[in-house]
């Protein structure tokens, strides 16, 4: 199963990922991404990858675990 990773230092809080896949991403009060789950279900993969590609600072990635 694939997993999602976030670079909390790089994140700028633009929330594109939250708009793309809000079951996986949220942001906290300081504007840093919060991973709501790590493992990416197969049926969500395309959507999550799209959300990952929508991050303006490339702070997210999906890896095959």
């Amino acid at each position: 199963m694939a997993a999602v990773e976030a670079d909390l230092e790089a994140c700028q809080g633009y929330a594109n990922c939250v708009v793309g896949a809000d079951r996986y991403f949220d942001i906290d009060d300081d504007g840093v991404v919060v991973l709501l789950r790590i493992e990416v279900a197969d049926e969500d993969r395309r959507r999550v990858e799209e959300a990952v590609r929508s991050c303006p600072v490339s702070a997210l990635k999906v890896t095959d675990a």
Binding site: Q12, G13, Y14, A15, N16, V18, V19, D22, D26, I27, D28, D29, D30, G31, R46, E49, E50, R53, S54, P56
Partner: protein, 406 residues
């Protein structure tokens, strides 16, 4: 095997190629750009790249290795000069040509060059080479004069102050960002710049520039003369659609497309990003958007449409643009123009975090401006998609302000 040819390898083109592969497209993907640089991202060009906190290799969108791994044929240094949509062939400046089954036009835009911008020491900011040249000149010291107080100009002015330079920003409009923000908010942005030490000459026009790098003189319409070491013109961009002039496709300040981002009159030519003027059902007219997130969303949409041409869903994005200026992270969602915001939570002139909301004539949220307030940003972006009730949204944000003590 079918071939998708993508012309333009900036964020729109690169993301289309990646979304095609990510979505299971098995055909050939050819991605072409006139630049010889590996694809890179533009937003840092007016910000981190000028201060040196980002370097060119940190802003790549697609390295040759990544392209290879995703089976994307990345061809650099090749300029498209013509299209024959009937024969499905694109011609290039080296005399070669390439056929396609699907074509994606992603040639973006280029910075408008003012008539007096021939002088050495006058910079535009659109490419990595532009930014590198500007960085070098800024390192030699000020004063810096920025002409145009749109997003790019205002960001360069902010970066100039961060570098400790003496900065003047000039615009014919009364406020910065006046094409995107209502005057009450634009006035707050003006105050932001003034408080940060930018000398703002609004409502002023430039009649000429003389001298050369390090010793420029800018003359304004009223005769005022300003000394500048470096001058930046941020007066907007024009779509790069000239190569389509003889194609027979409809051009009108961009490639004119239907609500599915398909060039009108074709079934196999799509456009994404700054060059696309598509029919937006929500607004009931053709629009062209010059923002990063639109290019990415449109790329994902077009990739889906190529993979599954039966998907009938039209392209209906919610505009979103961010801009970092001084200590403000300004985020504009949807439409924030008009005479004034409908409601403002926090005080834009005094607080460092606030949200301005705009209602349409039915009392629904049509736009928002959020500064330094991540929670409100998420709430507003979701509300725009869900067409949430106005009262719920403002009540929610009021509670949040109370809690945050903004």
């Amino acid at each position: 095997m079918t071939r998708t040819l993508i012309v333009g390898a900036s964020v729109g083109g690169v993301r289309t190629a990646q979304a095609l592969r990510g979505g299971g497209y098995d055909g050939e993907i050819v991605l072409i750009d006139l630049e010889t640089e590996a694809p890179y991202d533009k937003p840092p060009l007016s910000k981190a790249l000028l201060t040196g906190s980002a370097v060119p290799d940190g802003i790549r969108l697609l390295t040759p290795e990544q392209a290879g791994a995703a089976r994307i044929d990345l061809l650099l240094g090749l300029r498209a000069v013509g299209l024959d949509p009937r024969a499905r062939v694109v011609a290039f400046d080296d005399g070669s040509s390439l056929g396609y089954d699907r074509l994606v036009v992603a040639t973006g835009g280029s910075a408008r060059r003012p008539p007096w911008a021939t002088t050495d020491g006058v910079h535009l900011v659109r490419t990595l080479a532009d930014a590198a040249g500007l960085r070098r000149d800024l390192a030699a010291g000020g004063p810096l004069v920025v002409i145009g107080a749109g997003f790019v100009g205002a960001e360069v002015a902010s970066t100039g102050r961060r570098l400790g330079l003496d900065v003047t920003m000039i615009d014919a409009q009364p406020y910065p960002l006046s094409r995107s923000l209502s005057p009450d908010l634009a006035r707050a942005v003006l105050a932001l710049h003034e408080n940060a030490g930018v000398r703002c000459l609004m409502g002023a026009g430039v009649s000429g520039v003389a001298g050369s790098r390090g010793r420029l003189t800018v003359t304004l319409d009223d005769g005022t003369e300003l000394k500048a070491a470096t001058l930046v013109a941020g007066i907007g961009a024009a779509p790069s659609d000239g190569w389509l002039a003889t194609s027979g496709l409809t051009l009108d300040d961009g490639l004119v497309c239907d609500e599915h981002c398909r060039a009108v009159g074709t079934t196999d030519v799509y456009a994404v990003g700054d060059v696309a003027r598509w029919f937006d059902l929500a607004r009931g007219r053709h629009v062209r958007v010059e923002h990063w997130t639109n290019a990415v969303e449109q790329a994902a949409y077009v990739a889906h449409a190529i993979i599954d041409p039966r998907s009938p869903r039209p392209y209906r994005p919610v505009d979103f643009v961010w801009s970092d200026q001084h200590h403000w992270k300004i985020q504009v969602i949807g439409d924030a123009t008009g005479p004034a915001a409908t409601a403002i939570l926090g005080d834009p002139m005094a607080d460092q975090r606030f949200a301005a909301l705009y209602a349409d004539e039915h009392g629904r949220l049509r736009g928002a401006v959020v500064v330094n307030w991540p929670r409100a940003l998420v709430r507003c972006r979701k509300a725009m998609r869900e067409t949430a009730a106005w009262r719920d949204l403002t009540a929610d944000l009021h509670t949040a302000v109370g809690r945050a003590g903004a």
